[in-house]
Assembly symmetry: C2
Homo-oligomer: 333 residues x 2
């Protein structure tokens, strides 16, 4: 082997892929029917000669992000970023100071921010996610990650990926599946941390977006973020985005809210393969939050629970099915 | 090796990747400075310890399609498809028969079709590229490929990829580059043939698009093609699309017309790596067409020739730099 390994880093990755792993790759999952269902589906879809075999070039699996791979309660991390950015930028944007929404943010008046609804959120996004180059925006997100910790856990935001889901991503990739994020979060925001947190490269991150504007400047060609052509990657728009970006139907879909149902329905209707669908049910008030079945909670899961029972989709009860929520190696509380 | 090769199809591909190839992988290219420039850049960017080394996860290269990977003259193959579809569908769309543009298509009156301009083209696209499910559209494109031959060559349309460019795609992938199409053609159209013709999977095909509409029907969830949110992936929109779909700046860009300049400018301004840019100059009136420097020819290349000289981009003179245009194994003329 050595001679060939030396030929290229590509080979190295292939060989490590093949190396047998004595540790349970899903050790953060309890030995419950949910874990068994995942393992059974993966084995059936990857074993040569299996009636449910899925060819390598069709092994595309999609994951929601907020509430599925990392927390979304009490408010999404991206909204927290937007509010922290408003605070950072307010001193140099004096014209903001008469804006009640901005003032609410500066005063940590979440009630007023929440009451401002989608219109208010869109405004906070416009103030913090447009008007700069794509590089500048990435720098701002990186700087925010380096300079802020999540107040509920004391951890960096990019240390809060759910360990069972991060193991699941690795396990699926080790079995030849191509893992994608399909989330209401912004692509440009998620792409800053997706490789490090989840091992998912930027092009496999599908999120909400608005168009950039190409300009030739004295500093060279630039792409500036605008709010034009805003696309909200949620609900019925998730299958639309999957077709647009991936160009084929997934064979598995993982979500946590009614906003993910269209994505799961589209996946489960794959005409060619036996698919797998899973919904993360936030039931753990101690280790995380129990909120999703009490509308109008953010990320509510009501229709989803009913549909899952009918369709035979797996429901993860965080309290019952996960040994751990976060990776203790990443952040010791 | 055998033991490990048997472990997985993935490994097999990795090993074949490593297999040394005695044949010149760029045999369709003449031994000219252009070929030498490609080989030099690839060697410098992949050799460990080279000052111009590019890490594997940054080796993203983008190719225009029409006029770069396959012909676009005298009219693009996708416009030919649209016109053939109008002819196929006219008998069952009686309301079309009073439409002068449709009549022009039915009478092969290219002059009137061309004179209808972008507005006319958009109408032909609307009539043939919207109103059906994404699956139905793919079937129609496949059926068209199976039932029509290109009148100028007598070959199937999907046999007309330029052999030198198909070799270049293979050569780049063999060196760890991820190859992408970034074209004004429609993504849904190109994705039907991109894997077979170029070895490029659907998600690495970025093209013009319009949004689909997700519907729950008695036949299950469907995506129907519409004309909403139409995005024309040309000129300044190419870098916009590259950022949106790929999420990072390419290290090489290959095009053939002034419509590709923004993509090449955006690539050449990559702040981190020594990039490579190339323009295909259609100079071969015998084996293909000589048209691109005589505006208002389609795919005109005028500003591009001037800019390439200034920027040191490679210009492929099809007549001088290519041994062959098409692959004789695919279609014998």
């Amino acid at each position: 082997m050595r001679k060939i390994v030396l030929l290229s880093p590509l080979l190295l990755s292939c060989v490590s892929y093949a190396a047998s792993n004595p540790v349970d790759p899903l050790s953060a999952w309890k030995e419950t029917p949910v874990k068994q269902a995942i393992e059974k589906w993966v084995q059936e879809s990857t074993r040569d000669g299996s009636p449910n075999y899925i060819p390598l070039d069709k092994r595309y699996v999609v994951f929601d992000n907020d509430g599925t791979l990392w927390p979304e309660a009490p408010l999404t991390f991206q909204l927290q970023f937007a509010m922290d950015e408003i605070k950072r930028l307010a001193p140099v944007n004096l014209e903001w100071k008469n804006d009640p929404l901005v003032m609410a943010v500066l005063n940590d008046d979440f009630k007023t921010v929440a009451a401002s609804g989608d219109k208010g959120l869109l405004k906070l996004v416009a103030l913090t996610h447009s008007g700069m180059t794509t590089e500048e925006f990435s720098h701002r997100v990186s700087h925010w990650l380096d300079s802020h910790k999540n107040r509920h856990t004391g951890c960096r935001y990019d240390q809060l990926g759910y360990q069972p889901m991060r193991q699941l991503l690795d396990y699926l990739r080790a079995n030849g599946f191509k893992t994608w994020i399909v989330s209401g979060g912004g692509s440009d925001f998620m792409r800053v941390m997706s490789q490090k947190m989840y091992g998912i490269p930027p092009e496999q991150v599908i999120g909400s977006f608005a168009l950039t504007e190409f300009r030739l400047t004295k500093d060279g060609p630039q792409l500036r973020k605008t709010m034009k052509g805003a696309f909200n990657d949620d609900k019925a728009m998730k299958p639309v985005a999957i077709h647009l970006f991936m160009g084929q139907r997934p064979v598995a879909a993982f979500g946590n809210s009614d906003g993910d149902l269209a994505m799961l329905q589209y996946t489960s209707a794959n005409p060619d393969y036996k698919t797998f669908e899973m919904l993360i049910h936030h039931t753990d008030a101690i280790r995380e939050y129990a909120y999703d079945s009490h509308p109008p909670a953010s990320g509510k899961l009501v229709d989803g629970l009913a549909l899952a029972a009918k369709q035979g989709w797996s429901i993860v009860d965080m309290k019952q099915d996960w040994n751990r929520v976060y990776d203790p190696e990443l952040c010791r509380k």
